[in-house]
Symmetry: C2
Subunit: 492 residues, 2 copies
């Protein structure tokens, strides 16, 4: 299988598209721009969901569910938000089909069943949620509201790619309401840190935490925090965002509360989200020309056991051992698949598990039974070791932990090597053209300069890093004063 | 709070509607017929999801995700299914809004952005899934496919009620593909049994497993298995269905496979689902005039601790103890909430937890500290006992288990008392009018009789029970021969 995979060097974009399909993660559907997430891909997404959900709950959030549809009059209430999404909305206009009199057996939209008010399929839920919060909030005692929702959203994108940009995608969206500006700001930054923690410690993806410039902010936000990751082709990928929404939605939906002093104030808001786009980041950060590489913490199976046998009796003995190892490892919370299919040869199984990124492969043959050993193969670096059977329980958790860390360190090394400080616009263009990656450059803070750089180079201002050293300098484009380098890159 | 709840006897329907809102489970939204599921209600749904998901995986199913939209041409491919849902479909016709030139700041549908083919918001996913399976299935080696999806679906119902019937609802839908008819039939019956097991052992709701009559079958199914529960007002509620779809969808989407003998055959199918409607069943089976009653296995908090104190020093001492108890119980996988709010008095807290159905309340006051005791109050029967603090860890799991069982037994007793065998149509009408509940009666097997009974009495044939004793008799309506009693009731 993997022999058919285009190499990254030859065509990174083609490699990605092929890998997503061949590794059984997702495929295009009969609906333009919408994907089918296949069981193996969905199992990774479930692992992501479980960890994120735990993190959200540990930071005091609860899940809830709000309607899929937003009536047009609510959708347009917060003007900037509406303007930002109006061009890419799926719109429900009718609620009934009828038999098509001109076409037996076919249906057509019943023109009599036209909705009085059109419904927008949510591209994001601020409008419907803040129209609801209005009824939930009267006093400071009702605050904060800390709610998250797991949902599907629709943005009618013209150019789509599996996981990275699809018309429908799955995500979580947090929507919180606070008494004060500073509390909301703290929440927005905290949730961005939760995302960074998840990216680094579960996805093994190093990220830069930062703030978006004004022109890259979420429509309707006063401040957008983000995490930016670097893919193997030198392009950046925005992996999560957390927005400080000020009082914009409270004002649009007239949501006021009585504070402790008895005065009426508008409520402060945040929203934050990550989506199935994370799957794209995961794939593009670690995988190689042989296929997917998965960090053990998110792999549907962490270990696969492949029996090597000729006779039925060999198969039976190996199966007994494999079943025992499976049970022992499962007791240590390690997920194991015993690939006992008789329809496939070991070579084909090896290729499939390599393509699907199973972190650790354990092969057992008749000689291993004799010697009381098994062969461990790591997916991340293809190294193999032979270990005694009675050390499996002790050894495998350590190897999995080492794979998890190695993937992070490798990605981090790549990022450091591909982050370049530049001090002139010529250098900026040169690095972008010949090396790619993250560029740290001084910027004068104006949207005009940002926009010109984008027009001339296709690089965008990814973020103003939060943990950058402040350093005086001159904008690479305008030569004006700047007190901090910011992050530029071409991006997904 | 609970004092405002209408009693069940006075108006069962009003009681239900009030309870759902007052117990903070759900509320109506700004979108006609769509609900907001509030955090407390959603937490119950999450518990249901977790158990069901585990059961599906244990029976070999994997999760996946298919598009929200179904192109009209796919939707209408299986005619019976299309006909069954055509009258209640939300239809997306456009993909863009534009500024309304006649109305500054407002948006309108952009007439230039009309879709070439309309998209149906999925009312169920057989069509989109079987159009996908067509590409996945070539040979018997590709079978069975055992997939489940957690998703939202939309059915444009005219009369809606929170949880019971909403335009959008959350559900899971299993869609499986098999080599043989018998394998598909076994799957359909197995998943109906999984639902029965879940209803009885987690929701504490006794159910009748049965088959739907032809006129009550799912549109496009050849056989529909179901579980039927009895609510406290004597009405039945269909709590889950599992369909044997025959080869209908395989034929509609031309899905064939090469069998072991090398011959091409159409694939056999099942689908099965339960939805947020289960929340309605849960509420209506157990709750009382004081509010919600929850089985411990599905309660967001199984135990709530309420401190009774006057001074800060008392509060501190009680808090120390409460925190210790919380930790100890959490180690035993019991979920505990320490209600340490200083904004509410104990009485208000008691009322709230009663209204929200927390199975066990633990009150701790200064006297309890002195005596080293706590007071346990059960929500199901309001009984109170005082127990030594050092027996808490041992006692509470037993009490929770007892509550779970007692709720089932109570509901089962109610069901038995309200299941009546009748042998004439006069008796049928009399029981239906004066007693309600399940009616077991002989039926001649014809749709005509079923339909007339429905017209005359509003009772529907709920199911042909699977585990009924076969017994010869005469149809209560037509007097024709019948070899089994079937279940009738008025239903939600």
């Amino acid at each position: 299988m993997s022999k058919n995979l285009t190499s990254r060097e030859k065509d990174y974009s083609k490699w990605y598209n092929e890998l997503v399909v061949k590794a059984d993660l997702a495929e295009n559907s009969a609906v333009r721009g919408c994907m089918v997430i296949k069981p193996y891909g969905y199992a990774i997404w479930e692992k992501m969901q479980a960890e994120l959900d735990r993190m959200f709950k540990e930071t005091g959030h609860q899940n809830a569910y709000f309607p899929l549809f937003v009536p047009k009059s609510l959708f347009e209430a917060e003007e900037k938000n509406a303007e930002g999404f109006a061009k890419e909305c799926a719109i429900v206009t009718h609620y009934r089909l009828e038999n098509d009199p001109d076409n037996t057996g076919k249906l057509r939209v019943d023109p009599k069943a036209k909705l009085e008010e059109e419904l927008i399929v949510r591209p994001t839920s601020e409008a419907i949620i803040w129209s609801t919060y209005k009824n939930w909030i009267q006093s400071y005692r009702d605050l904060p509201i800390l709610i998250n929702q797991w949902a599907n959203v629709v943005r009618w994108e013209m150019r789509t790619r599996l996981f990275l940009r699809t018309a429908e995608f799955l995500w979580q969206e947090g929507h919180t309401a606070h008494e004060t500006k500073s509390e909301a700001l703290i929440e927005a930054e905290k949730m961005n840190s939760v995302y960074a923690n998840f990216a680094e410690n579960y996805m093994a993806i190093p990220v830069v935490k930062g703030l978006k410039s004004e022109s890259e902010r979420f429509a309707g936000a006063e401040q957008t925090y983000c995490i930016e990751a670097l893919m193997q082709d030198g392009k950046a990928l925005q992996a999560g965002t957390s927005h400080f929404l000020g009082q914009n939605f409270a004002k649009a939906f007239d949501v006021k509360f009585t504070n402790k002093e008895g005065k009426l104030n508008y409520v402060w808001a945040t929203s934050w989200g990550v989506s199935t786009r994370l799957m794209g980041a995961l794939i593009m950060t670690h995988s190689d020309d042989k296929g997917l590489v998965l960090p053990p913490k998110l792999a549907p199976y962490q270990v696969v056991i492949v029996p090597i046998f000729k006779t039925d009796s060999e198969f039976d003995k190996i199966s007994d051992l494999a079943n025992k190892i499976t049970r022992d490892l499962q007791e240590k919370n390690i997920s194991v698949k015993f690939d006992n299919r008789t329809t496939h040869r070991p070579g084909a199984k090896f290729a499939q598990h390599e393509l699907q990124g199973v972190p650790l492969r354990l092969a057992i043959g008749p000689k291993d039974l004799e010697n009381k050993t098994v062969e461990l193969s790591r997916r991340d670096d293809f190294s193999k070791i032979i270990i005694p059977i009675d050390s499996i329980e002790e050894k495998i958790p350590l190897v999995l932990e080492d794979i998890q860390q190695s993937l992070f360190l490798r990605a981090n090394k790549f990022r450091l090597e591909n982050t370049t400080k530049v001090d002139s616009f010529d250098e900026f263009k040169e690095v972008l053209k010949n090396k790619g990656g993250f560029i740290l450059a001084h910027w004068d803070g104006s949207a005009e300069t940002e926009n010109k750089i984008k027009q001339l180079t296709k690089a965008t201002l990814r973020c103003i890093p939060l943990d950058n050293d402040k350093s005086q300098g001159k904008c690479v484009f305008s030569g004006k004063n700047s007190d901090q380098r910011v992050l530029f890159a071409k991006a997904y």
